[in-house]
């Protein structure tokens, strides 16, 4: 219960951080996905069903704060990737930490990629530029932030 309450508190804190200071987080117009980083941390600390529920809630908050015109897209993407995160979390003990991180970065890339693909689906001639100018920089920024954060707060807790 304490972990769930702490997760809710952290969720509200990150939402507020991303809402209030979004302009300060931008590097050349690229923003990190703090919500997905939070979801990665939660997936290694909460039971799978709670992680999936967190993915949905985080996605819904993401859309209500930043993307009201396409509300429902982020919950869909984040619920699906929360499920994949639970699979990585379940198999973390048999995986090499480097491979775990590699999988996490692939999931960050897929999260941005799928979201951008849905988002830009109605625009012609942009598949290549969406990947090059949006998905790739967002993936790099979010991954670097995750790796930097994991130096201070390990993604995989020592006691599970």
């Amino acid at each position: 219960l304490i972990r769930v309450v702490f997760a809710i508190f952290l969720f509200l804190f990150i939402s507020l951080l991303q809402f209030l200071f979004i302009d300060f987080l931008s590097i050349a117009g690229v923003f990190p996905d703090l919500f997905f980083i939070l979801l990665i941390y939660l997936s290694f600390r909460l039971p799978p069903i709670h992680t999936i529920a967190a993915g949905f809630s985080i996605g819904l908050m993401n859309d209500m704060l930043f993307n009201v015109a396409l509300i429902g897209l982020a919950p869909l993407v984040k619920t699906i990737f929360a499920f994949f995160l639970t699979k990585i979390s379940e198999n973390e003990k048999v995986l090499n930490p480097l491979i775990t991180y590699a999988f996490l970065i692939i999931l960050i890339w897929m999260n941005h990629g799928v979201y951008n693909w849905f988002y830009f689906i109605q625009i012609a001639d942009t598949e290549y530029s969406v990947f090059l100018y949006r998905t790739l920089p967002q993936t790099v920024y979010t991954s670097v932030l995750l790796i930097t954060l994991s130096y201070f707060i390990p993604v995989i807790p020592e006691e599970r």
Binding site: F66, I71, G72, T126
Partner: protein, 264 residues
């Protein structure tokens, strides 16, 4: 039987939860324009709006000096333009009277500040700090000093959501000057737009100005939108595709104006 079902649900709970919540998300995504979804957005917007004011205040202070310098430069340019415009307007009014034209509606501008943006590199919506109480209505055009920014998508008591021109679903009817070719403008990523189905008999050149055509119920005519950068032949051989750059830099917009069009 019931026990088997219960066991199945218990064992597969995470898969079932993922499927259920994905379907729920899909349902919300497909019900985007449902009143209850709007109501939920309104509640969140109204709750969060006051939290942003201290940040806006600090941003305002740091931006004032920079903006003051830019505005002074712009004022000098505009004074020169205004002198030219004044004589042209007099001539225009005289000619309009001669051919019996009715005067177009003047505008009222409601200044607004941005409360939140999308986290995507490209923005499709923003929250502004004025709403119903300040006179904002649904589908009011939103502009910046450089040109068209978007339209009001949802209105709450003291805030409103603006759908931006850089949204994948956004289209605006435009006219390319001086050829007066009309078409539908669509954003294609970055700061670029495309206008398709322009007859190849019309002479469109780089640096031609793109303005709103006034054919839609939302945008009045002659609001600047972009500049033509180049044209391409379309596959059909009879039309061209006009590619250009938007005048507004959507990564740097701070102050906006909601345009109240006074209809005659």
């Amino acid at each position: 039987m019931l026990k088997k079902l219960f066991d199945f649900v218990y064992i597969k709970q995470s898969q079932l939860a993922a499927i259920f919540l994905s379907l729920l998300s899909l349902l919300i995504y497909l019900q985007n324009e449902h009143p209850s979804v709007y109501a939920l957005q309104g509640v969140v917007a109204e709750f969060l709006t006051p939290l942003k004011y201290p940040i806006l205040f600090l941003e305002d202070i740091s931006n004032t000096k920079k903006q003051n310098r830019i505005m002074s430069e712009r004022l000098i340019h505009l004074s020169v333009e205004a002198a030219k415009y004044s004589s042209l307007q007099e001539e225009n009014q005289r000619l309009k009277q001669l051919i019996g034209f009715r005067e177009t509606s003047p505008f009222q501008l409601l200044p607004a500040q941005i409360l939140s943006r999308n986290i995507s590199q490209e923005l499709n919506s923003i929250l502004i700090d004025i709403g119903k109480n300040q006179g904002v209505e649904l589908y009011d055009p939103v502009i910046s000093v450089n040109g068209v920014v978007g339209k009001v998508f949802a209105v709450y008591d003291n805030s409103a959501t603006v759908e931006l021109l850089t949204g994948p679903q956004f289209r605006v009817s435009v006219m390319i000057k001086p050829a007066e070719a009309t078409g539908i403008l669509q954003w294609i990523g970055g700061n670029q737009f495309i206008i398709t189905d322009i007859p190849n008999t019309l002479l469109i050149e780089p640096d031609n100005l793109v303005v709103t055509s006034g054919y839609s119920d939302i945008f009045p005519m002659n609001l600047p939108v972009g500049i033509v950068s180049h044209t391409e032949k379309a596959y059909d051989g009879f039309t061209i595709r006009v590619i250009g750059d938007l005048l507004v830099n959507f990564n740097q917009i701070n102050e906006l104006f909601v345009l109240k069009v006074r209809h005659n």
